[in-house]
């Protein structure tokens, strides 16, 4: 026994030294806490990133000493801190937030916290965090570039469209019916180009978090009516019928952004038109429910192959059965719709069977959640 004990102590000391070396050599900020969230260890990179000295942090209650902020510069609730989640769930948690440094400036970070479990009970946690200032800057530059490029692309397009219209309208003298037809083709093509640029701009705004939401009280079916009117020519070209109905008696009034809502409906309905054969039918149903309004867009079109169901909302996704038949899609529409709905605190899902049709459903809450809840949800 006397021989075994020193060996096990030495082994434990070796393990401890190894853990220490491992902890200090992590290339990102690392902080360890005990089961109460008090800081027990902090590596040099974390000290450098946060601007503290080791003695200023050791033994301090981590969530209080290192303040985390949301995008809006407001402190993150204790319950939403990854360390709390890790302790509560016993699983590791990852979040993007800002840390306030000792000098008061803020640092964008990606944080991962893993609980240290002993017999399924958390006895501490290790947090690793990475400075993402550079990534954020690159992202901002990318968004700015796309925004400016989209704007510059539109200027010559505006001239093409304006002069084509002026020719059709006779500002430069009479044109023959054949010439008019060609001019209208030019106008249609510029409209399509415009749509693509709009989509790109909106996606950039969603990804950079700069989309402008102006909430107004409105009835959802009004927005549906307007979209149906705008798309009636496209539907008539394929002899597709479009109907709007209200299910139940619940009120369909919501406080939301009318332009964004119309963009969502317009994308879903134009998809339905695009991917439905001639003579098909599109039904839009609006239903007021206690907490939200449900909008359903049913078509009896080509449907989405089952194998593609989990990719429908991915960027640049286009189902195999559409790529072969329809060439104008960008694969950005549904990605955009999902992003826009998230901004309005809505949800979207669909049901589809190949060869039978597709139903897209989305909901919008009747009351907008408060800013804190929105900020928390935008972090997900």
């Amino acid at each position: 026994m006397a021989d075994i004990l020193p060996a096990s102590i030495q082994h434990a000391q070796e393990q401890r030294a190894q853990a220490e070396a491992l902890f200090n050599s992590i290339g990102e900020g690392a902080i360890a806490t005990d089961e109460f969230g008090r800081i027990t260890r902090i590596n040099p990179i974390a000290l450098g990133m946060l601007g503290y000295k080791e003695r200023e942090l050791l033994g301090e209650w981590f969530p209080k000493k290192i303040v985390a902020l949301t995008d809006q510069d407001t402190p993150v609730n204790l319950i939403d801190r990854p360390i709390t989640k890790a302790f509560l769930t016993g699983k590791s948690a990852t979040e993007k937030m800002f840390y306030r440094k000792k000098d008061g400036t803020v640092l964008p970070v990606i944080i991962t916290v893993s609980p240290i479990l002993l017999a399924d009970r958390p006895i501490g946690a290790i947090e690793v965090f990475r400075d993402i200032t550079l990534e954020e800057e690159v992202d901002r530059m990318k968004s700015e570039f796309i925004s400016l490029a989209s704007h510059q692309l539109r200027t010559p397009l505006s001239a093409i469209k304006t002069y084509s219209h002026m020719l059709v309208d006779g500002y430069m003298g009479e044109v023959t019916p054949a010439q008019k037809k060609s001019l209208r083709t030019i106008i249609t093509a510029t409209n399509r180009m415009n749509e693509l640029i709009s989509t790109l701009l909106n996606i950039t705004r969603i990804e950079s978090g700069t989309i402008n939401i102006v909430p107004k009280t409105l009835k959802i079916e009004r927005a549906c009516e307007e979209v149906i009117k705008e798309l009636s020519l496209a539907a008539a070209d394929k002899e597709i019928s479009m109907t709007l109905s209200q299910k139940g008696r619940g009120t369909t009034t919501v406080k939301t952004d009318n332009l964004i809502l119309k963009e969502i409906i317009s994308n879903l309905v134009s998809n339905a038109i695009k991917y439905t054969n001639e003579g098909g039918a599109i039904r839009i149903e609006v239903q007021g429910r206690p907490r939200d309004v449900l909008v359903a867009i049913h078509d009896n079109g080509w449907g989405i192959p089952k194998a593609s169901h989990d990719q429908v909302f991915s960027k640049f996704f286009r189902a195999q059965n559409t790529v072969k038949r329809e060439t104008t899609g960008t694969g950005l529409g549904l990605y955009l719709v999902k992003g826009l709905l998230e901004r309005l605190n809505g949800e979207i899902w669909f049901e589809s069977a190949e060869g039978k049709g597709t139903s897209f459903y989305f909901t919008l809450p009747k009351e907008r959640r408060n800013t804190a809840a929105r900020a928390a949800s935008s972090q997900k």
């Binding site: 304006t162 002026m166 500002y171 402008n212």
Partner: protein
């Protein structure tokens, strides 16, 4: 194409793209308006020394002086009778929100607007009540 009953008004077109500026002038003159054009905000301010428009069609992104700086300098609070229509391709942008804050009457997306709609929007703006400064 001016008709009896058309509104007689002076319009200043501020747009750096020469082709578009020229197109708007042709469309608006055909509606019977008296039109002057400028290619940036500074030139617009210079024109306003001797030209009194009831409406300014204003682009936002221009060299030398952009639309927002023009709005700050021109100050619609001291010109309550002048309406400013923002004509831009930067839809839904912070710049558009800022132009409303500075008193712009309405914002129109250039690349979506057909000439007959431009004339209609301008008529509506001229017929509407002056904005409260």
């Amino acid at each position: 194409m001016a008709n009896e009953g058309d509104i007689v008004a002076n319009i200043l077109v501020v747009e750096d793209d020469k082709d578009l500026n020229n197109a708007y002038c042709i469309i608006l003159e055909s509606q019977g308006y008296t039109v002057e054009s400028a290619y940036d905000g500074q030139e617009a301010l210079d024109k306003l020394e001797h030209f009194n428009p009831q409406l300014i069609l204003l682009d936002l992104l221009m060299p030398i002086m952009g639309g927002l700086e023009f709005l700050q300098r021109f100050d619609l609070k001291i010109h309550p009778d002048v309406k400013v229509l923002i004509f831009t391709n930067m839809e839904n942008s912070p710049e558009v929100a800022e132009s409303y804050r500075l008193g712009a009457h309405r914002c129109i997306i250039k690349s979506w607007t057909a000439p007959h709609n431009l004339a209609r929007v301008i008529n509506e703006a001229l017929e509407s009540e002056p904005a409260k400064a």
